[in-house]
Symmetry: C2
Subunit: 322 residues, 2 copies
C-alpha cells in the first residue's frame, strides 16, 4: 500500500450489505470489503461492528496521516443533518444520526448523503462527469434515483431532500406506483420493476406470439426481457422502446429545468445499451425547445457498477470543506 | 437624492418599451423612466439612445462614486455571454452582445440575464425570497417564465439557458403550444393565453349558461374570466380551478427536483388570488412524496408588478463578483 497518498474511506449502506473501500484521489480502490447490514439489531452495534472491521485497515492506511475522512452513501441519507431519515429498506427505525456516531467512534470527519447523490459526486470526481459543473445522474435500478449537480455543487435543496426525479409525474393519471401510490411517476415505468410491469401489460393486451410467454410472472425480469429483445422478439423490443420513450420525455423536462452539459445514466437497466438509449435520445430531443436540442450529452456511467457506490461515498470526503 | 448611498442602474428591455431605474440596496427606486425599444432600428442606436437619456441621471447620481454598475433583464438574455440570443419579441436579429456594448459606452460594469431570472434575483434581494437560498420563481403572464435559485445562486445551467419551466411537458399529448409546437407544456395551460384557450374549450364543450358567452373571442381575456368567476359563474370558476390543478401538478415535479423553501408566483395571472392559489396548492401537495408535503411555502411575489423588472435587473449589480 502506498502510504504517501491521501485516502478516503467510502461506505455504502444497503439493506442487506454494507460495502466499504479505501480510495485514492484517482479513484483506485486500494482495499475493499463488506459486512452484513442486517446482522446488527441496533445502529450502535452496527457502528461498533464497522469500527471493528475497519480498524486494522485504517491502521494499515496510516490513520490520521493519510486518511482524510469517511464518506457514507445511504438510503434516505440527508447531507445537511448527517442523518438517515426513515429509510424503508433499513431495519433501524426513525432518524439515525449516523454521521455523528461514525465520526465520534472513528475520530474522523464524516459526510453522509443518499446513494444517488453519492453516485453523482463519484461520477464528477472519477467518472463520466469529470470537469463538469452542471449534469444530472439518473440511476435506473430497482428504483429510479437521481443526483443533480448545478454550478459545481450537488443540489440538496433547502432541507437536503432535492433530486427525487424518479417520483416526478410523467404521465398524468398513469400507472399507480406500488409503493408511493403516485400516478404516472417516472419510477413506475423506468425502473426494473416498471419494465416488468410494462411487459406484463403488453403481453396481456394481445395474443401475439412472444418468447416472453415462456416465463412465469416470477421469472420475468428486465434481464430476460432484454435477452428476448435481442433475439428479435417484437413485444420485448417494444417494452424497451416504450421505456426509452418515457425516460426521454422525462429527461427533456429535466434539461429545461437545469440545462445540464450531460445526463449520465447508471444502473442495471442500462445494460440494455442502445435498446434503451436510442428511444430515450429520440424522445428527449423531440420534447426540447430548439435552444436545448443536440447539446446535451446523453451517456452511460464510466464507473463499474460494483464499485460505483463505494467510489461515490468516498468522493464525499474530497468535497468536505475545511 | 441621497448621494452617500450606493446605487444600481436596472434596465428592463421589452419588445415595446425599455424601462430603467436607479435603485438602492433597500430596493427603493430613486428615479425611473422609460424609452421606446422599437424606435431604434439598430442596437448601436439603441445603446446610444439609452446613454443620451441616462447620462444626466448618472451624472446626478454621482457617476463612479455611488453607481456600482448596470443590470439588464432582457428576453433570451444569456448571463454567461452577456448576449441577447435570437429574441423573437425584439426586432434586432441574431446574437446581440448587449452587455459589452453597454459596458463600453457607459464605462460601467454590466450584467445581463433573461427577465425571469432577473425577477428571481430581485425577489431574493428585495422581496418574498429575502434570506432564502433555495426557491423557484414562476411568472404567470402572457407566457410562463421561471427563475430557479439553488445554494444561493441562480441556476443558469452549462450554457446559461436553464429555467425554462414553462416549456416542460405536464400533459403527455396535451394541448399543442401555439408557438413552440410542443404538446402539453405548462405554458400552453397556465399562461394568460392558455387560460383563455381553456375557457373557449369549456364553452365549446357544453351549452351551459355562462357570463363568458357575453364576450366575443377577441374580448375574452384572463381578467374578464376572473371577473365572471367572482360573480359566481361556474364555467369561469372551473377555468381557474383547472389552471390551478395543472400548475399544482407541475410545481410538485419542480419541488421534487430542487426541494425549494418556497415557490413564488408572480405576474398578471396571480391577480386571481385564491381562485388560482387554492387549487394550485391542493394539487401540488397531492402529487408530492410525503417527505415534501406541507413544507414548501407557496406565496405571491412581494414586488409591485410595475417595478419588479427594474428591481430585478438592478439586483444583478449587487450580485456581481469582484
Amino acid at each position: 500500500m502506498d502510504l504517501s497518498q491521501e485516502l478516503a474511506l467510502g461506505i455504502d449502506i444497503g439493506g442487506t450489505n454494507t460495502k466499504y473501500g479505501l480510495v485514492n484521489h484517482r479513484g483506485d480502490i486500494i482495499e475493499k470489503g463488506e459486512i452484513r447490514t442486517d446482522s446488527f439489531p441496533t445502529i450502535e452495534e452496527f457502528v461498533e461492528g464497522l469500527h471493528k472491521t475497519l480498524s486494522p485497515l485504517i491502521a494499515k492506511a496510516g490513520a490520521g496521516d493519510s486518511l482524510r475522512g469517511i464518506g457514507i452513501g445511504a438510503p434516505n441519507g440527508n447531507y445537511y443533518t448527517g442523518t438517515i431519515d426513515y429509510a424503508p429498506n433499513l431495519h433501524w427505525r426513525g432518524v439515525i444520526p449516523l454521521a455523528k456516531l461514525v465520526s465520534e467512534r472513528f475520530g474522523l470527519r464524516c459526510s453522509l448523503t443518499n446513494d444517488a447523490n453519492a453516485a453523482a459526486v463519484g461520477e464528477m470526481m472519477y467518472g463520466a462527469a469529470r470537469g463538469m459543473k452542471d449534469f444530472i445522474m439518473i440511476t435506473l435500478g430497482t428504483g429510479v434515483g437521481s443526483g443533480i449537480v448545478a454550478n459545481g455543487h450537488v443540489v440538496y435543496g433547502h432541507d437536503g431532500f432535492a433530486g427525487e426525479l424518479g417520483h416526478t409525474i410523467i404521465r398524468h393519471g398513469g400507472r399507480k406506483h406500488w409503493s408511493t401510490k403516485l400516478d404516472g411517476s417516472l419510477e413506475a415505468y423506468c425502473s426494473a420493476t416498471g419494465i416488468v410491469l410494462t411487459a406484463r401489460e403488453l403481453l396481456a393486451a394481445s395474443n401475439e406470439e412472444s418468447l416472453l410467454r415462456n416465463f412465469s410472472d416470477k421469472e420475468l425480469d428486465s434481464k430476460r426481457i432484454y435477452d428476448c429483445a435481442i433475439q428479435g422478439d417484437r413485444i420485448a423490443a417494444e417494452v424497451y422502446r416504450f421505456t426509452g420513450q418515457i425516460l426521454g420525455e422525462a429527461l427533456a423536462n429535466f434539461v429545461m429545468f437545469s440545462s445540464p452539459e450531460a445526463i449520465i445514466l447508471f444502473g442495471g437497466v442500462i445494460n440494455a445499451g442502445e435498446l434503451i438509449m436510442a428511444p430515450t435520445k429520440l424522445h428527449m430531443e423531440k420534447n426540447l425547445l430548439p435552444i436545448f436540442q443536440d447539446k446535451v450529452k446523453l451517456v452511460f456511467s464510466e464507473l463499474k457498477e460494483a464499485d460505483a457506490a463505494i467510489l461515490g461515498a468516498s468522493a464525499l470526503v474530497w468535497e468536505m470543506r475545511d
